[in-house]
């Protein structure tokens, strides 16, 4: 099977020279759900930015192949059109731009880049309303400016809505559970699970085992000091909850 994502000996730093990713390797096959756990400041969010091409994050060694393409050659919007989605730890607010208009622009920008027919307004509205219903997002929230004044939980639901509309091949979820109450956690997880399929994969970054009760991973990695230091099955998450990261931090050092 060709992997969906292949990270080989990746080194990356933040503009200004701070090295954050240190020789990381990871292979994700189509259909797999991988969880990444690790101490604060280990570089998990940085990894998600490097993969999605955020300006200011530079790859200094190694390579990342996504669906057969070297990601370094693609701009962030081209990566998005290739099917890479980042569910932000802190979603941004865009004043004056309605949520619906944003979804429309995003979906059609991607379709255009892929040479697919664009969605008409009625098609899009129907689709978005349907997804909104599943996620407990009402029409009022769809009319409001993107994320402006949304509660933490609402922002995460909104991220999930975008993901479900855009149907990416790889979704990177950066602490999708933070700020969610129990009910919202279930709603968001159900949304994510509904997207699981033999072609689609997920990279789930989290601090808590609880999320993994809902989104059950195939593989769990421990990430410390800029690389993966240990890999196991879903039971590893439980283990970590009991022991913490101390032993792995030594390993990384």
């Amino acid at each position: 099977m060709t992997p969906l994502l292949e990270i080989r000996d990746l080194h990356a730093e933040i503009a200004g020279g701070r090295k954050i990713i240190n020789g990381m390797n990871l292979t994700i096959n189509p259909g797999e759900v991988h969880a990444i756990m690790g101490p604060n400041g280990a570089g998990k969010s940085t990894l998600s930015y490097v993969l999605s091409g955020k300006p200011g994050y530079e790859i200094t060694g190694g390579e990342v192949i996504f669906r057969g393409v070297n990601l370094q050659e693609l701009s962030p919007d081209e990566r998005a059109a290739q099917g890479l989605f980042l569910c932000f730890q802190y979603p941004l607010e865009i004043p004056g731009v309605s949520n619906m208009a944003f979804l429309h622009t995003a979906a059609n920008s991607q379709r255009k880049k892929r040479g697919e027919p664009e969605l008409t307004s009625p098609e899009l509205v129907r689709k978005v309303r349907e997804l909104g219903k599943q996620l407990g997002i009402d029409t009022d929230m769809l009319k409001r400016p993107v994320n402006v004044g949304f509660s933490g939980g609402e922002k995460k639901r909104n991220e999930t809505l975008q993901m479900m509309l855009l149907e990416p091949y790889l979704s990177i979820l950066d602490e999708a559970d933070s700020g969610l109450d129990i009910d919202a956690l279930k709603v968001v997880s159900n949304g994510v699970n509904a997207m699981r399929s033999p072609e689609r994969s997920m990279l789930v970054i989290t601090h808590y085992q609880r999320l993994l009760d809902y989104i059950v991973p195939d593989v769990v990695h421990v990430f410390a000091a800029g690389r993966i230091v240990h890999t196991g099955g879903k039971e590893l998450a439980l283990e970590l909850e009991a022991t913490g990261y101390a032993q792995y931090q030594n390993e990384a050092a």
């Binding site: 955020k54 200011g56 919007d77 059109a81 004056g96 920008s109």
Partner: protein, 494 residues
């Protein structure tokens, strides 16, 4: 390179190529001798076959102007203008007031066609996308250099009692109306440029809406400066009599030239009891190239007088052009219960300098005003909002709400807010809000991660920023303005 940095680079590279209206029309013109003198003023007045009192008014203005000096308080910087090195009158040579469009020089018609301004009424009526009758109709007065070359829908407007014609024509056909109101809002001595305008203005539009009439269509004037070294000094006078309503649009363009050109217009609005004027501008004069060479100096005095009870004036402006903009559309809220609004989007890029804002002068009881200003600065431009809100001693119950937001793109531009507030009545309520923000890298990245190109991301964020104001524009103008905004901020796609 960081996304914002790239945007900044692209924005910086904007130059003449981006200005779609920079072409020149080859046409012979008749000019007054270069420079300014009583002789030149007499020449202009004679050309227009004006009544004696108008010539006297001009000469009076000219003599006063000689003793005045240019205002220096605005945050703009430019070399001294040599007022003797300009032409003050230029008209297409074959020009005699045309009776119908067929008499208009085809070169000029082509010019307006190229600018996308419909002068042929039947073409408007036979609009392709929209079925006949549903497409809103707009009457146009087209001003080419110093003269009005065509005014459309005259007959239909006449039937409604509306007078819409070049001011030069109004001076001959309705001298009493013009005499009664001209200079009654912006007095001859108001300021350096207004006084100059009073002395030399050549054309512009005149509008009179009789009592109780709702003008049956939008009225608009398109100004075009074509000639070299020619100042454009147009004069607009709009009177809304009791209980009437009119929506008026103004647009403007000019060819690209290396030297600067002066545009010093005066607009006066008079609104009587229960009447309303909605005045919208999309200003797109040539802004100069990316190094600041060329471009229009836009020194404009616009003022409306809410003379009657419960009268209303609403100014909406989208300012994207000109090398320098010096412009403060204002409202004198004289009538009890009158209200003034100012909605503004001012975009500066390259080396453009904008110093713009408004004055809301509350004189009457229970007068209200609202100011929404959105400034966007990019490139190495400077963008200043300057606004005065004042309440006279007798302006009991005066209320104002002001909101000024500035958006910066890149690090080399400047945004400034200079609000003046004077409340001589203790019961006046003035509220002021101001914010300055930068298009953040994070916001652009968020949009791009969802699939938007960098340019689309900038356009989306900017459109969100100016939304409140765009909503105030008449539909077609809003679409035009939106396009203009993205062109103004567009870089070559990298």
């Amino acid at each position: 390179m960081a996304a914002v940095q790239e945007t900044v680079e692209q924005v910086r590279s904007i130059d003449v190529d981006q200005y779609k209206y920079g072409f020149e029309t080859q046409i012979e013109s008749e000019k007054a001798p270069k420079g300014l003198s009583e002789e030149v003023i007499r020449f202009i007045s004679a050309k227009k076959e004006e009544p004696e009192w108008m010539l006297d008014l001009r000469l009076d203005a000219y003599r006063r102007w000689l003793s005045m000096s240019e205002p220096t308080w605005a945050r703009v910087d430019f070399p001294q203008i040599d007022f003797q090195d300009l032409y003050y009158y230029s008209a297409p040579k074959k020009f005699k007031a045309p009776k119908s469009l067929d008499e208009v020089d085809p070169e000029i018609l082509k010019t307006y066609e190229k600018l996308g301004i419909p002068l042929r009424e039947q073409e408007i009526l036979a609009g392709v996308e929209v079925p006949e009758g549903e497409r809103p109709r707009i009457a146009v007065d087209a001003v080419f250099d110093s003269v009005s070359v065509a005014t459309t829908f005259k007959e239909e407007l006449k039937a409604a009692g509306v007078i819409f014609m070049p001011i030069s024509e109004a001076l001959r056909e309705h001298p009493d109306l013009v005499k009664k109101y001209l200079g009654s809002v912006v007095p001859v001595t108001d300021n350096f440029y207004a006084t100059l305008n009073s002395a030399v203005f050549s054309d512009g539009s005149f509008v009179y809406i009789p009592p109780g009439v709702r003008c049956p269509m939008e009225l608009s004037t398109y100004f075009r400066i074509n000639e070299k070294n020619t100042g454009q000094f147009e004069r607009t006078l709009i009177i809304a009599d009791k209980g009437s309503y009119v929506s008026y649009l103004e647009g403007c363009t000019a060819p690209q030239r290396d030297e600067n050109q002066l545009h010093a217009a005066v607009v006066e609005l008079v609104v009587l009891d229960d009447a309303e004027i909605k005045y919208s501008t999309v200003q797109n004069w040539y802004p100069g190239d990316s190094e600041g060479k060329g471009g229009i100096y836009n020194f404009v005095t616009k003022r409306g007088d809410c003379r009657g009870k419960n009268s209303k004036i609403s100014w909406t402006q989208v300012e994207t052009g000109s090398a320098i903009t010096w412009k403060y559309p204002s409202c004198v809220l004289r009538g009890e219960g009158s209200s003034g609004e100012f909605y503004s989007i001012a975009i500066s890029n390259g080396r453009q300098q904008v110093d713009s804002g408004t004055k809301m002068i509350h004189l009457g009881k229970n007068t209200t005003s609202r100011i929404i200003s959105k400034g966007i600065s990019a490139g190495r431009s400077n963008n200043t909002y300057r606004g005065l809100v004042s309440a006279h001693r007798k302006a009991e119950g005066a209320r104002n709400f002001t909101n000024c937001d500035s958006l910066l793109i890149g690090n080399a531009c400047g945004a400034h807010t200079v609000p003046y507030i004077e409340a001589k009545n203790p019961k006046a309520q003035f509220e002021h809000e101001a914010t300055t923000s930068k298009i953040s890298e994070d916001m652009l990245f968020y949009c791009m991660q969802r699939g938007l190109s960098q340019e689309d991301a900038v356009a989306l964020v900017v459109n969100g920023f100016v939304r409140d104001v765009l909503q105030q524009l008449p539909m077609e103008f809003a679409v035009e303005a939106q396009k203009l905004i993205s062109i103004s901020l567009e870089g070559s796609v990298g």
